[in-house]
Structures are given as structure tokens and as C-alpha cells.
């Protein structure tokens, strides 16, 4: 099905999120929508999906003007959408989620779950999704939940499929699989809009690329164009995709983790007798496919999640942290960038200055006696906003009004304000624009050069190889090996799949 967006404009108050956007997607074409976070990609797709009404412009399908009042109309017209944040009911099974809103019924009008299961199995088998129709969605890993979303769209005969940042939550292998699926769908005539800010994926799978910046189409490109050219179009300036760093000079052992085990929320052993050391002035990357225990390991290091009783020690500068709460560990000198900044890193309805204070509400500079020292807080906030290049009108702006990259810089600034010994950075650049990625990477290297120990937890192989001095690969809760940063991608990929030497 051919999709045309003509002159779409969408405003929120004074903010123009989409400014006269024109895009045409031919039948069977994979069209990449490339742009930084906050460029207006998601808004545009929500207009297409009927969630927002455009202030100006038209949507055409096979040449016919459409008028979507809501997602129901869009779906009926053949548009399927896989959102960045999944629209699934966690306590329902896969089959129930897939048919929700479009339930098959038996003769007496009851819900025909067998038919629902059949639909799921059919699509799952056709594309090798390997999804159990009877699994409860909340028990599934994120990657599988996404496949449920895709099945949902496909089961409604979507002719235009919108994938909003689909690879943000996927492993490299899963990403490759997804791309294969996209190609097959396209071959079968489905038009695909693939929203992303990852250049490599665009180059790998797109037929055509539309680059959006600040709500406007800044140009079209071909996947054969160089990554530098695409990146430049995206951010409007030259981007250095490599991180400059000197050879590391590591010092004494700062963090020593000895044989710890951690249970996940389902009481399963997510971290299984893990041991490693990190030295001052060293970045140890913990690589691996998402869901292999990295999250639980990071939480255990900070004390958010208990280690299994009697299962070893976590020593920071010789002090055993087991049994101590989060506050004590922060005070001992841990900085923590959580993998989910919206959940664990920020209070969205607090100002930037207030967010700087989250872990500083007990002592100076933010608190004097029992009172908040507002003058001092403002001063510190101003300084941090400037130092970390947080793009905002003022430090009193709400964090929820910042773009993803700037939100992340707020978290990074807060954690690096204190003189920490160990920085734990979990997915520090997830959902962050290119400019901010560059900044955050440089900052992490700077911390290393200043003699701090850094644990970088990342599922992005590019990030791992760019930053790490040593790489530990996690697989099913165990560290399958710790290797040098010069190790080849192929070998790392194999290790991530559980194949040791």
C-alpha cells in the first residue's frame, strides 16, 4: 500500500513538533525515518496513527485522502504500529493481547481462544518468532514482548507497518532477526516505516531514508550514503563517531566482586556466582544480550537488590558493602547511572535543580541543617547545567520538558558532581541523541582518566568496543569471559551467544 503524508503540521501550544512534513512510502518499501530524540518522529507517527490530529496536511493511502479520528480508523485502513513503549496488557496472555479489540468469537458469541492461539502460532511460525501464545506477557523478556506487538499488527492485516525505535530494546542478534523480518514483510508488499536514530541499522535495512531535524524534513538519503553524512544531516553539524582515548593507566583495585549471586523478581537466579575486579583508571564493560543478568548485577552493586545470603562479597576500596543500604553505598563513593532513567534516575515532575538534589538531601551543599539551601542549590545547578551542556532555559525547568539526551545529562551531572570512586553506568546512552552520546562518552572517558573505576553495562556492542579497556561478557547470569578491548566483534558476538573459547 502506498502511503503519502502531505504537508503535515502539528503544534503543541507554541511548539511546532511537525512542520510541513512530506513523505511518500511506496508499496513494499522500507523507509527509514532518521532523527535525534525530540526531532518529531514519534509525533508524526502518532498523527499517522490517529492518536493526534494534524493541524494541517493530509494523509493518503493509495491516493485516497484519509481522515483518522483515532487508532481504530488507522488500523481499519491497514496501518499497524509498534510503539516504543509497548501497548500490551501485562497480565493477559500473548493470545489475549493479540486479539484484544478484534476478538474471534465462537458460535454462541464467546471468546474463541483456540482461534486466537492459532493466529499467534501461524504468524509466529511464519517468521520464526518463537512465541508461546499462552505465555503471560509480563513474564516475557522485552524482546519477545516486542514480537507480540508485531504479531498484533500483522494479525490485523497491516499493510503499512510503523516500527518506532524497535531496536532500542533488542540484542544485536535480535536486531538482525528483526531486519530479516522487515525485509520479508517488504517483499510481501508491506510498506514499513522504520524509526530510529541508529545509523548502522538504517544503512543495513532501509531502501530510502528521510532525515528529520527539529520537526522538519531536512533531506532524503540513500543507505549507501556514508554514516558521517547521515549523522551530519541529523544533528546539523559534523559528528565524530569515534571516542578519542589514550591507553589506560590502571591503578589499585577499587571494586572487587567475589562470587555473588542475585535473584530476579521471579526468584530466579539472575546473577550466578559472578566475580570480577575493576581498577582505578579503568573502564570495565559488561557486555551481553539484554536480560542475561546485567540489570540485576547493577542493582545488586548499588544495593537496590539483595545478594543471595552467604554468596560472596562486594568490596569497594576494601570495605565490604554487603548488608549496607543504598545510602551508605552512595556515601562510600558509588555513582550510579541507572539503565532506565525515567524510572530510577529522575523525578519527571521535579525541576532540574531538584533532580540534582535527589541523592543530596542529607548534607551540603544542598542542605544546611534541616533546611534546603536554595541559594546554594541554584548556584550548583547553574554550574552543572553549564558544565554538562544541558540545553534548557533555566535550572528551574521541569525535567519532563527536556529531551532524552538532556535528561540523561542531568543524571550524569548529578552522579559526577560528587567525588566518586566507582561509576556504574548502565546503558548510559540508551535513547539519547548523537550529540549527547558523544558528550556522555567523552565524559565517561574523562572520569576514567581522572582515576575513577568505571563499570559500563551496555548491550550496544559499538559502545562497548568504543569505551572499554576490558570487556566482561555475561551470559545467563554468568561471566563467560573477560577479554581485551581489541577482541573482534565476531568473537564477542559468539561469547554473547554463550560460546566460550
Amino acid at each position: 500500500m502506498k502511503l503519502e503524508l502531505r504537508g503535515i503540521t502539528k503544534r503543541f501550544g507554541t511548539l511546532v513538533a511537525n512542520d510541513n512534513i512530506n513523505i511518500t512510502v511506496e508499496s513494499g518499501e522500507i523507509r527509514s525515518l532518521l532523527g535525534e530524540n525530540g526531532a518529531g518522529k514519534s509525533t508524526l507517527m502518532n498523527v499517522l496513527y490517529g492518536l493526534y490530529q494534524a493541524d494541517e496536511g493530509q494523509i493518503l493511502l493509495d491516493g485516497k485522502v484519509q481522515n483518522f479520528k483515532g487508532p481504530g480508523d488507522a488500523m481499519a485502513a491497514g496501518i499497524g504500529m509498534v510503539h516504543q513503549h509497548f501497548m500490551l496488557i501485562p497480565v493477559f496472555t500473548v493470545a489475549e493481547n493479540v486479539v484484544l479489540g478484534n476478538e474471534p468469537t465462537n458460535k454462541i458469541g464467546g471468546l474463541d481462544l483456540d482461534e486466537a492461539r492459532k493466529r499467534v502460532r501461524e504468524i509466529s511460525d511464519r517468521f520464526g518468532f518463537n512465541v508461546d501464545p499462552d505465555a503471560v506477557v509480563e513474564d516475557l523478556p522485552v524482546g519477545v514482548q516486542q514480537r507480540v506487538e508485531i504479531i498484533k499488527a500483522l494479525s490485523r492485516d497491516a499493510k503499512v507497518l510503523v516500527l518506532d525505535e524497535p531496536t532500542a530494546v533488542l540484542t544485536p542478534q535480535e536486531t538482525d532477526e528483526l531486519m530479516q523480518i522487515m525485509r520479508e514483510l517488504a517483499k510481501a508488499g508491506t510498506s514499513i516505516i522504520f524509526i530510529t536514530h541508529k545509523l548502522r541499522e538504517v544503512q543495513a535495512v532501509a531502501d530510502n531514508i528521510t532525515v528529520i531535524r527539529l520537526g522538519k524534513v531536512v533531506g532524503e538519503a540513500k543507505p549507501t550514503d556514508s554514516a558521517e553524512k547521515l549523522a551530519t544531516m541529523m544533528v546539523g553539524r559534523e559528528v565524530d563517531l569515534k571516542v578519542d582515548k589514550d591507553a589506560h593507566k590502571s591503578g589499585a583495585v577499587v571494586l572487587s566482586v567475589d562470587s555473588i549471586s542475585v535473584l530476579d523478581d521471579r526468584e530466579q537466579r539472575a546473577v550466578d556466582h559472578v566475580s570480577f575486579e575493576v581498577r582505578a583508571g579503568e573502564i570495565l564493560a559488561i557486555a551481553g544480550v539484554q536480560g542475561n543478568g546485567q540489570t540485576e548485577l547493577a542493582e545488586a552493586l548499588l544495593g537496590l537488590r539483595p545478594t543471595v545470603k552467604g554468596s560472596g562479597s562486594i568490596k569497594l576500596d576494601g570495605v565490604d558493602l554487603i548488608g549496607h543500604g543504598v545510602r551508605k553505598r552512595l556515601e562510600e563513593g558509588i555513582g550510579y547511572i541507572p539503565e532506565d532513567r525515567k524510572k530510577d534516575g529522575l523525578v519527571a515532575n521535579f525541576t532540574i535543580a531538584e533532580n540534582f538534589m535527589l541523592n543530596g538531601s542529607y548534607d551540603e551543599p544542598f542542605v544546611k541543617g534541616v533546611n534546603i539551601d536554595f541559594a546554594k542549590r541554584e548556584e550548583v545547578a547553574q554550574k552543572l547545567v553549564k558544565e554538562f551542556d544541558i540545553r534548557t532555559q533555566s535550572a528551574d525547568a521541569l525535567v519532563s520538558n527536556l529531551s532524552g539526551g538532556n535528561q540523561q545529562k542531568v543524571v550524569v551531572a548529578r552522579e559526577l558532581r560528587r567525588d566518586v570512586k566507582l561509576l556504574i553506568a548502565a546503558q548510559p546512552t540508551r535513547g539519547v541523541d548523537v550529540g549527547s552520546i558523544e558528550f556522555i562518552h567523552e565524559r565517561i572517558v574523562k572520569e576514567r582518566d581522572a582515576g575513577r573505576a568505571v563499570v559500563l553495562i551496555s548491550t550496544e556492542l559499538d559502545e562497548v568496543t568504543a569505551l572499554a579497556d576490558r570487556i566482561a561478557v555475561m551470559y545467563r547470569g554468568r561471566i563467560i569471559g573477560i577479554v581485551d578491548s581489541t577482541t573482534s566483534r565476531e568473537k564477542l558476538g559468539k561469547m554473547m551467544a554463550g560460546i566460550a573459547e
Binding site: F12, G13, L15, A17, G40, S42, T43, N46, H85, L302, L304, G325, V326, R327, K328, R329, L330, E331, Y336, P338, D340, K342, K343, D344, G345, L346, V347, A348, N349, F350, E354, M357, L358, N359, S361, Y362, F366, V367, V370, N371, I372, L398, S400, N401
Partner: protein, 396 residues
């Protein structure tokens, strides 16, 4: 754009609702009030006997019906004003100014308990246990003021402290149960309301405990000792006592706590995003315990006000449903110090003006409807947004 409300990825529906309710703008609250009073006017006019009588001649003289309806509405709301603020026909100064002093007197407990419930809201807790906390406060107040002898002044202060401490303990108990067992505070507070009610009533029945001297079957205590009663502010012609001063002081304390102090910052942090608070080193469980204890302490002050603000013997009904009214005050006031003050004054005025409305031939229950509608509109932002076609404040 400072009032933009965005749904957070990790919050439950009730958290979203709570946050939306508390993000009420003055405009929205003003429109809600207007709407509530309009509904009240319709009820008042539609079923007033004079208006109903005029329906018979509606065909020939419709203006009579409209005129009568209009007069009824004007009469009703005018009598509300003369009963709650200033009565120009009072004759002497005492009668003229008495209404406003009554409004202040009746506002005090609403403000105090409203602040307590508000504090809970700011921490993400729904303290529905105001009634129980007031009754526990009353239990302590009654004991100290009827069974102990102390000098003037000291007696009042001791009674106040005992009442507040008992209420705080009652609230802290809820926090403890929530922290240790995960029990939801709404369920626990409601259940504890009954426990407190029957505990206090039992105390009032037992001659060895709190029953009035020479009392019989009615659970009622002696009047509080004169040394413990709240001193009157404007002499014996007015009932206004120092309860309103305590309320004003409490407003300042609440404001300082929530807007200026470090502990209030942590409270708000836990209320706005408990995950982030935990990752920042805050102990969520003990925050819940402290927050509920302090919330209940404010509510307990309302109990002190009820117990010592009058000269008669005390019964369980002295709690006056303040614990639940406080929820409406907190909702309408957006859980902010200033908002709670205005909301408390408004509902205090309703209480003060009720009798004079009744004298004017208008059922004061209309005010209950207005009050309930007002809170409903404030607590149902999407509804009001829809009625007034306000823009939905959600950016991308």
C-alpha cells in the same frame, strides 16, 4: 508550560490520577467551583415549593416561574453569605460580625485535618484514616482534660501533646503495617477507623475510664476542665477560640515542611517517583511510616480542636466527620498550604452558613451537594476539560 502533565512509564493508574488531581490549576478549580454552584442553584430553584407552585401557571405566565426561581437562588446564596461572612441586618455589632468568626472557628479543624491528608497525598499515600486519628486524639485529649488536674495553660498544652502523639502513633501504625506487610493504607486506615471508634466509645462507657461522673447508659465524658479548654479569642460574645491560631501556625509549619525542609523534599521525592527515591538512597519504608505519622499528627490537632474547643461533655460524634471532609479539603486545595487554607475556609463557611440558609427556607443540604460536586469536578479533570473544552495538556 510548567503545568504539563505527562504520564510516566512506571506509575500505576492511581498514581497518575493522584498526580493529575494535584496538578489542578487555579483556573480549573475556579471553573469547577462555578459549575458546582450552578448545579446547586439548579437544585435549589427546581424543587423550591414556591417555584413548584408556579409551574401551574407556567403556560400563561412563564416569567413568574423564572422570577421565583431566580429569587430563590439569590435568596439562598445571599443567606449563605450573611450566615458565613457578614450579616448587615444583625442589629448590633456582635450579630453582624458573628458569621465570619463562626466561619473561622469551623474552618480550623478542616484546615488542620486537611493539611494532614494533604501531606499523605504528597508522599503518594491516601490517608482515609482521619476519623480514626481524630478519635484517638480525642481519647487522649478527653483523658487528660477530664481525668487530670493541671494549672491553666499547662493543662491545655499537655492535652494537645497527648492527643497529637496518640494520633501520630495511630497513623504511624498504618505506615508500619504498610512497610512490613505491604498492606494498602486505604484498607488499613478504614479498618482502624472502626477500631478507634469503638475503642473510644468503650472508654466513654466505662465509669473507671472516661464515663462522666454520675453518668448512665450514654457514652459521654465530663466536660473538659476549664484549665484545658481553648481560650476564647474575642470574649464571651463569640465562640471563636485559639483553634484558628493553631490552624494558622500549622499552615506555616506545613508550608515549611513541604517547601523548605530537606525531609519534605524526600517526602515529595518518594511521592513523585519511589523508584528514583530508592536509587537515591532513600528508605521508602521508613519514609512511609514517618509520613503517615506526621500526616496523622496534623489530623490529631483537629481532634484536639474538637475536644477542647467547646465546653460540653465529649462523645464520639464530636469528631464531626472531619476526617472525611478533610479529604475533600485536601483535594480541593491541591495539597498545597495555601490551597488547603482557602478550601478549609470555603467549607467552614458552608458549615457556618448552613443554618441561616435553612432559616431562609433553603435546604442546607444543597451545600453538601455543592461541596461534593466541587470535589468531583476537581478530581475529574478530564470531565471539566471536556465541558469547558480546555486543551489537553499533553505534549509529545
Amino acid at each position: 508550560m510548567s503545568n504539563v502533565v505527562k504520564p510516566e512509564a512506571n506509575e500505576s493508574r492511581s498514581e497518575t490520577l493522584l498526580r493529575e488531581i494535584m496538578s489542578g490549576t487555579p483556573l480549573r478549580i475556579g471553573l469547577s467551583a462555578l459549575l458546582a454552584f450552578m448545579f446547586g442553584a439548579i437544585f435549589m430553584a427546581a424543587f423550591n415549593q414556591d417555584v413548584v407552585d408556579s409551574y401551574a401557571t407556567f403556560g400563561s405566565d412563564p416569567m413568574l416561574t423564572f422570577q421565583t426561581a431566580w429569587d430563590t437562588i439569590v435568596n439562598g446564596y445571599t443567606s449563605l453569605l450573611t450566615g458565613s461572612i457578614f450579616n448587615p441586618n444583625g442589629g448590633d455589632a456582635v450579630s453582624m460580625f458573628r458569621p465570619i468568626t463562626e466561619t473561622l472557628r469551623l474552618s480550623a479543624p478542616l484546615i488542620l485535618a486537611g493539611l494532614g491528608v494533604s501531606l499523605g497525598f504528597r508522599v503518594g499515600l491516601f490517608n482515609v484514616g482521619g476519623t480514626g486519628q481524630i478519635l484517638m486524639s480525642l481519647l487522649g485529649v478527653t483523658w487528660v482534660s477530664t481525668r487530670m488536674t493541671m494549672p491553666w495553660g499547662i493543662h491545655l498544652i499537655v492535652a494537645l501533646i497527648v492527643g497529637v502523639v496518640l494520633a501520630a502513633a495511630w497513623g504511624g501504625l498504618v505506615g508500619l503495617l504498610k512497610a512490613k506487610t505491604g498492606a494498602h493504607e486505604v484498607i488499613v486506615t478504614i479498618m482502624l477507623n472502626y477500631v478507634a471508634l469503638y475503642l473510644y466509645t468503650w472508654f466513654l462507657r466505662e465509669p473507671s475510664l472516661l464515663l462522666e461522673h454520675g453518668g448512665g447508659g450514654t457514652p459521654k465524658s465530663d466536660p473538659p476542665a476549664v484549665t484545658a479548654q481553648m481560650p476564647l479569642l474575642l470574649g464571651p460574645s463569640f465562640d471563636l477560640h485559639i483553634g484558628i491560631l493553631i490552624a494558622i501556625a500549622a499552615i506555616f509549619v506545613y508550608w515549611w515542611l513541604m517547601e523548605r525542609s530537606a525531609i519534605g523534599f524526600r517526602f515529595k521525592m518518594v511521592g513523585a517517583n519511589s523508584h528514583a527515591a530508592r536509587a537515591a538512597g532513600i528508605k521508602i519504608e521508613s519514609t512511609y511510616i514517618w509520613a503517615l505519622a506526621i500526616s496523622a499528627a496534623f489530623v490529631g490537632l483537629a481532634g484536639v480542636n474538637q475536644g477542647l474547643g467547646q465546653a460540653g461533655g465529649l462523645t464520639a460524634s464530636v469528631n464531626g466527620n472531619i476526617g472525611f471532609d478533610a479529604i475533600t479539603v485536601a483535594l480541593l486545595g491541591g495539597s498545597r498550604a495555601r490551597g488547603v487554607m482557602f478550601a478549609g475556609l470555603l467549607f467552614g463557611a458552608f458549615k457556618a452558613g448552613g443554618p441561616s440558609m435553612q432559616l431562609a427556607g433553603v435546604s442546607p443540604e444543597i451545600l453538601g451537594v455543592v461541596q461534593a460536586l466541587l470535589v468531583l469536578f476537581v478530581a475529574a479533570p478530564p470531565l471539566v476539560r471536556a465541558i469547558f473544552r480546555l486543551p489537553k495538556k499533553e505534549a509529545n
